[in-house]
């Protein structure tokens, strides 16, 4: 668990922000990787997670003469290396640009052109390091330096806070505490206290070059002369000099070598014989040494020479939380002031004065100019949302990431990949359904079709005006319809007959004629007719047929001579249930919604033994089949059927098997029944129309075959 330092809430391990107050749980006491956001130690050059570079390469190779300084976090010593470069640069302060460049002592070219050479020199063994300047010379230079620095020190005194006056013991204690806290973060050369001795090499020998140049001899007191001390303001008199002037025996032993570093004396020019050859060209002239020293802010000149090439992520001011700036390395903390433009290097990158001296093997070590980073910045994306909107490349991206890229095609390891691609391509191909192009009718065909319809219409209408012509030869004897008529004719008086109206209005043209003739005959025989239907539209049809027949016969009343029980639900299951249970007394009728028991003439209908006949009027063969399969085998009751002409073949099968006691089919069966029951009506007239229409159709069939045969023979002849 991680306890929030702000609110005390306990958070899960690995949490970066507090779940309660949102405060950052992982202190950014180091460098935050710009690529993945992982906090890294200040000593890391590359991110420990993603490997991204944390310290910009350009700053180390182009801007600074010194090797990349090791940022020391938490070390409250005045000898922070990153803050001391101005001291080193003081003797080589930029001279007035108007003066002609002196080939020996022009610092800027040496700083900008041969920094890589400086790095190479920094790798020179310590025994080959240049000699340390002598102390007396330092002492002679300090008063003048102090006098010249009085003005800018006075300005600083007006703005700088007055340090608290502390006793020497307190100062030593605080310094020790600060060092103890940050000791683990110190590099090796600072972590282990070095006791100066005659046999060991001086600590300065393990320092960077700039430290070696400015480090005075250990026996030399770095005490400013009294004249200079008098001109220094009070706030400068107390803190650092007191600490620096503390007796050696009062300070810890490990602190002694650091004293020489903390008290950085002004550079002392070495004698001609002490200056190595490679430094002689860098020696400043007398005029340059006499020039006033300009105060230089920390970090100034660090990025000198690369300002025009600095990437945007260096120039843009990143957003930092309050207090986070102190965790940044110094080179990122304060934007350095824009330095003067350095002298342009030669095309080869080597100063002209060194071109003849640099051997080829050293020139080969010259680092390549980093040109990729500016390109990355140019192509970096512009933030379009959030607090970074409008900024480009705040989070630096590599060019390969910023640019749109495509994944390489996956290797065809799957043996079915090719088939899958083929299948997908087939699926992606738009399929056009084969449209059956309607054959465009010619004018002759249209005329011929209209002629057929006209002739057929005339044939249908004609029998209505000449009924006897077509019906004179209707045969009734020996037909299934005659068997049906005989069955009904044989019914006793008051026989209970169940009539099922299983046809819809589409078959009314022929089925209503059958139903009318049959129900009229039943009512004439004084049978008690119970109507029902397995179709939803059947009860309405049944009610109409019953009412018409009752009106035609007369002396027949609903509930007394006929009853409509309506729709029988369940299809086969309903019929099977009817066969098993009979007409249930609780079944309500269709017209008045009264239970069957309320009608005395039909109260015994629940027993199949009281049912004399079942009449099935089926418009489809399936309706008849249900009755024949579910009811006929279960009840010992005669069944007769009137079916449409389309259902006749199926009905004839049951008729031939004697499952049906009688059968009438189609319009012809209705006409036959009308003739048999001596009630000629619409069925007989309709049969005449059907007969003439059949003749017309026969004629058309013959004509069509003749035309077909003639055209085929004509084609063969051609």
């Amino acid at each position: 668990m991680i306890q929030c330092p702000h609110c005390g809430t306990k958070n899960r391990d690995g949490s970066k922000y507090c779940s309660d107050c949102g405060a950052r749980l992982v202190p950014q006491a180091g460098l935050v990787c710009p690529m993945c956001g992982t906090p890294n130690s200040v000593e890391n050059v590359f991110c420990s997670k993603c490997g991204a570079r944390l310290v910009p390469l350009t700053a180390a190779t182009l801007g600074d003469k010194t090797p990349p300084p090791t940022p020391i976090k938490g070390l409250s010593l005045p000898s922070k290396p990153v803050e001391t470069p101005p001291t080193k640069a003081e003797p080589s302060a930029p001279p007035p640009r108007a003066e002609p460049p002196t080939p020996k002592i022009e610092p800027p070219p040496a700083k900008t052109t041969d920094d890589w050479l400086e790095q190479l020199r920094a790798q020179v063994p310590e025994e080959q390091a240049p000699a340390i300047p002598e102390a007396p010379e330092v002492e002679s230079e300090v008063p003048a330096e102090a006098e010249e620095s009085a003005d800018w020190l006075a300005r600083l005194s007006a703005t700088a806070p007055v340090p608290e006056e502390l006793s020497p013991a307190e100062k030593a204690r605080r310094a020790a505490e600060s060092i103890e806290i940050a000791e683990e973060d110190l590099p090796d050369w600072l972590r282990t206290p070095v006791t100066p001795s005659e046999t060991e090499s001086p600590p300065a020998a393990r320092m960077p070059d700039w430290v070696m140049e400015v480090t005075p001899a250990k026996e030399e007191p770095a005490v400013p002369p009294p004249s200079a001390a008098e001109e220094i303001p009070d706030w400068l008199k107390e803190p650092a000099p007191t600490e620096a002037h503390a007796p050696a025996q009062e300070a810890p032993a490990w602190f002694k070598p650091l004293e020489a570093i903390t008290e950085i004396p002004p550079p002392v020019p070495a004698t001609e014989e002490e200056i190595p050859d490679w430094l002689k060209p860098l020696k400043p002239s007398e005029e340059e040494l006499a020039a006033p020293v300009r105060p230089q802010a920390p970090g100034e000149g660090l990025l000198e020479g690369i300002a025009v090439e600095k990437p945007a992520w260096l120039t843009a001011t990143p957003y930092l939380e309050p207090g986070e700036e102190e965790f940044l390395p110094d080179w990122l903390r304060t934007p350095p002031p824009k330095p003067a433009a350095p002298a342009a290097p030669t095309p080869e990158g080597i100063a002209p004065e060194f071109q003849g001296e640099v051997p080829e093997w050293i020139a080969a070590l010259k680092p390549v100019e980093p040109t990729a980073i500016p390109q990355i910045v140019e192509t970096g994306p512009v933030e379009v949302a959030g607090p970074l909107a409008g900024l480009r490349s705040v989070l630096p991206l590599a060019a390969v990431v910023a640019e749109p890229h495509r994944l390489p095609p996956a290797p065809a390891a799957n043996p079915f990949a090719e088939q899958a691609r083929l299948f997908e391509s087939v699926l992606a191909t738009p399929v056009t359904a084969p449209v059956a192009r309607a054959k465009k009718s010619t004018r002759r065909e249209k005329i011929f079709r209209a002629l057929i319809y006209l002739v057929l219409t005339f044939a249908i209408i004609l029998p209505f005006f000449l009924p006897d012509v077509a019906t004179a030869s209707i045969r009734t004897f020996g037909t299934p319809t005659a068997d049906l008529y005989d069955t009904i004719q044989a019914l006793p008086a008051d026989a209970l007959v169940i009539v099922s109206f299983d046809y819809d209005p589409g078959n009314i043209g022929e089925m209503d004629l059958q139903a009318n003739a049959l129900v009229r005959h039943l009512l004439q025989r004084r049978a008690r007719v119970v109507a029902l239907s397995t179709l939803e539209t059947g009860p309405q049809i049944a009610q109409r047929v019953l009412d018409n027949a009752a009106r035609a016969v007369g002396n027949s009343a609903y509930g007394t001579h006929y009853l409509n029980l309506g729709y029988l639900a369940g299809q086969e299951a309903g019929l099977r249930q009817l066969a098993a249970t009979g007409l249930v007394p609780t079944t309500s009728d269709y017209r008045y919604r009264q239970p069957l028991a309320q009608y005395p003439n039909f109260s015994n209908a629940q027993n199949w033994r009281n049912v004399a006949l079942i009449v099935e009027l089926a418009g489809t063969p399936e309706a008849l089949q249900k009755w024949m399969e579910q009811v006929q085998p279960r009840v010992n009751v005669k069944i007769v059927a009137g079916v449409s002409a389309a259902a006749e073949p199926r009905a004839r099968a049951y008729r031939e098997a004697k499952q049906l006691s009688g059968l009438m089919s189609g319009l012809m069966g209705a006409a036959q029944y009308e003739i048999l029951s001596n009630q000629r009506g619409l069925a007989v007239i309709s049969v005449g129309a059907q007969s003439t229409a059949s003749l017309v159709i026969i004629a058309l069939i013959v004509l069509g075959n003749l035309v077909f045969l003639l055209s085929r023979d004509r084609g063969k002849a051609k």
């Binding site: 057929i452 319809y453 009314i508 249930q577």
Partner: protein, 199 residues
């Protein structure tokens, strides 16, 4: 628990089948109860059919880009009106009878009657003696047509023979085939080989 639906289906099927063959009071009672449940489920199936019909046509009306949206709108409006009349006046009522006798019945009868004209043109085009099979079909069609025409009663007996012998034989074959298929399907259901109710 997948065996439970299968066991229930097999048990109900066997009870219903045994009730058909044996007249036992217990089987009769169970068979009656099962059939009552079936009738209720069938009624709900009819209700679901009506709901599905309305869903389909209302969807077509909402998606106006379809060409049949107008007809679908007519179906929905008509169904709503007829249902409203039936619920308000009751099914055996004068308004419902008038709608049935004067709208529904004439429309469906007229639609069915148009078959005569299509049959006439089809007979002219289709019934041609191209091959031996079509020639036989043409001859039989002519016999049936002529036989049912009172004006040409000479072929009435031939027609009766055609309908009673060859046609009945064919129909019986079809019925026997349907019966065998039904038995096979019933056996697969009763043995649990087909479980459409659990899929």
């Amino acid at each position: 628990m997948r065996w439970l639906p299968t066991a229930i289906a097999i048990a109900v099927g066997l009870i219903t089948l045994l009730d058909y063959f044996f007249d036992l009071p217990l089987l009769d009672a169970l068979g009656i109860a099962f059939r009552e449940w079936t009738i209720i489920l069938t009624a709900f199936a009819l209700l679901l059919g009506v709901i599905n019909l309305l869903q389909v046509h209302i969807g077509r009306v909402i998606r106006r880009h379809e060409a049949s949206a107008g007809y679908s709108a007519l179906v929905v409006i008509t169904a709503t009106i007829v249902t409203g009349i039936g619920l308000w006046f009751g099914l055996p009522s004068e308004p419902m009878t008038w709608v049935f006798d004067n709208i529904y019945t004439p429309l469906q009868s007229a639609f069915f009657a148009l078959m005569a004209f299509f049959l006439a043109t089809a007979a002219y085009r289709a019934l041609r003696a191209r091959t031996l099979e079509t020639t036989w079909m043409l001859v039989i069609a002519l016999i049936v047509f002529v036989g049912q025409t009172p004006l040409l009663g000479v072929l009435a007996d031939v027609r009766e023979w055609v309908l009673n012998v060859p046609a009945t034989a064919g129909v019986r074959g079809i019925l026997i085939g349907v019966a065998l298929g039904t038995m096979a399907t019933a056996l697969r259901l009763l043995l649990g080989w087909d479980r459409p109710y659990s899929e």
